[in-house]
Amino acid sequence: MALVTTEFWAQGDFIARSVGLPDVPRVELPHPVAGSGAANLAAVAKQTVPLIVAALRGDA
């Protein structure tokens, strides 16, 4: 499972194809996340966890 911010989504696609894993599960995060404060990180986590679970189940 890869968590990739919007700004780096295209790079994630490129690397996934390059290493032969085009379907590797990925979840998109807003950008930027780093340094955005505990409150925002908690909000992003709350929003993202269901997406991660869905991606791992293959539902996404």
Binding site: F8, A10, Q11, F14, I15, S18
Partner: protein, 362 residues
């Protein structure tokens, strides 16, 4: 017109100008016009390498592209290289393909870093490489073309394209080309490649990922016995300021280009190159308190004000002689990241692979 592109796909265009436009459209250039790599031109460049066209040197990341001699030759043609330059281009490519170089990570990083190519030995002369005034600036064909060939290989074979796989947030102009010769003729010291185990009569390239060069002003005073020590502090400060990754991340390699005047002065004062490296490494420290007071620091403010060395060992500072004589030498801070922490790789320029063909280099 048939174009042998670096992706091994044969392209067709009605004429030279249309071919250049096609290569621009396909994202195969560095943004500047290129020499169209026609099948004939690429074949001539392959011949100059002395290797078979389909010999694979390795995989080039982040695209993990198969790096064949033919593809590298196409990049050299596009960059404007002469056939005489081909062995140096091949050596530079072999250097960056060495796993210690961490090319995939270097291409993908958000930091502004580019490969600096330092050429030593007789190849400097047969290629016409320049190590004096403005060696990293415009005007010298060999310097410009060889460095550009490596970049075009990194774009077309390695797949390094801005915003999708080359994630440098701003980049720097050295990403177009950054190649020079060590000015061995004006250096009192052992040449860089000889320090790496090569015989001085061999040719070699040393490649290191670096930031853009930082001019360091040095006012020599032969009457001042402390002058050499003060020089060392000036050089060290280029690496130990908190804006440099050498201070915030630490532990990588970096480079220093001494201009011939500064090298001669130090040599005259009895300094060896090893002593220069050791002293700069000793002086290049950053206090944890100062680092923690900046935004470059990751982590909590330390309870003890440790003095953190920028270099793990003195040998991590590459020192060579280049540039014109005068006030300024140049420091090249670096990235200090990747699995191998930004290591230099030196590769021999292999010249016994090809036979001489009269008029070939013209």
């Amino acid at each position: 017109m048939s174009i042998a592109s670096t992706s091994s796909t044969e392209l067709f265009a009605t004429d030279e100008a249309a071919a250049v436009e096609k290569l621009h459209e396909l994202g195969c250039t560095d943004g500047l016009p290129v020499i169209v790599p026609t099948s004939e031109r690429v074949a001539r460049m392959v011949l100059a390498t002395g290797y078979d066209a389909d010999l694979v040197l390795g995989e080039m990341g982040p695209n993990l592209g198969e790096c064949s001699i033919e593809k590298v030759a196409a990049a050299a043609v596009m960059a404007g290289c002469l056939p005489d330059h081909a062995p140096v281009v091949i050596a530079a490519v072999r250097a960056v393909l060495d796993p210690r170089f961490d090319l995939t990570e270097m291409q993908a990083t958000t930091h502004a870093i580019a490969p600096l190519i330092v050429v030593n030995g007789p190849a400097r002369d047969w290629c016409g490489l320049h190590g004096g005034f403005g060696a990293l600036g415009p005007g010298n064909r060999a310097n410009a073309s060889i460095g550009r060939a490596l970049r075009l290989a990194m774009i077309n074979i390695g797949g390094g394209r801005a915003g999708t796989s080359d994630m440098a947030l701003l980049g720097h102009p050295g990403k177009f080309t950054m190649c020079l010769a060590e000015d061995e003729g004006n250096s009192p010291f052992e040449p860089l490649h000889a320090e790496c185990g090569f015989d001085a009569s061999q040719s070699a390239v040393t490649v290191l990922g670096v930031d853009s060069p930082q001019s360091v002003m040095i006012n020599i005073d032969a009457d001042d016995p402390t002058c050499a020590d003060r020089m060392m502090r000036s050089f060290a400060s280029a690496f130990s300021n908190v804006a440099a990754n050498n201070a915030s991340l630490r532990g990588g390699q970096a480079a220093l280009a001494l201009n011939p005047d500064h090298a001669a002065f130090l040599h005259g004062q009895g300094w060896t190159k090893a002593q220069v490296r050791e002293r700069i490494a000793d002086e290049a420290v950053v206090s944890a308190e100062r680092l923690a007071a900046s935004a470059s620091y990751l982590g909590r403010k330390p309870e003890v004000d440790w003095q953190l060395p920028c270099f793990t060992k003195a040998e991590d500072l590459l020192v060579f002689v280049a540039g014109g004589g005068g006030l300024y030498s140049a420091a090249f801070p670096s990235w200090c990241a990747g699995p191998h922490k930004n290591q230099a790789v030196t590769a021999e320029v292999e010249v016994g692979q090809s036979c001489e063909i009269p008029g070939f280099a013209t």
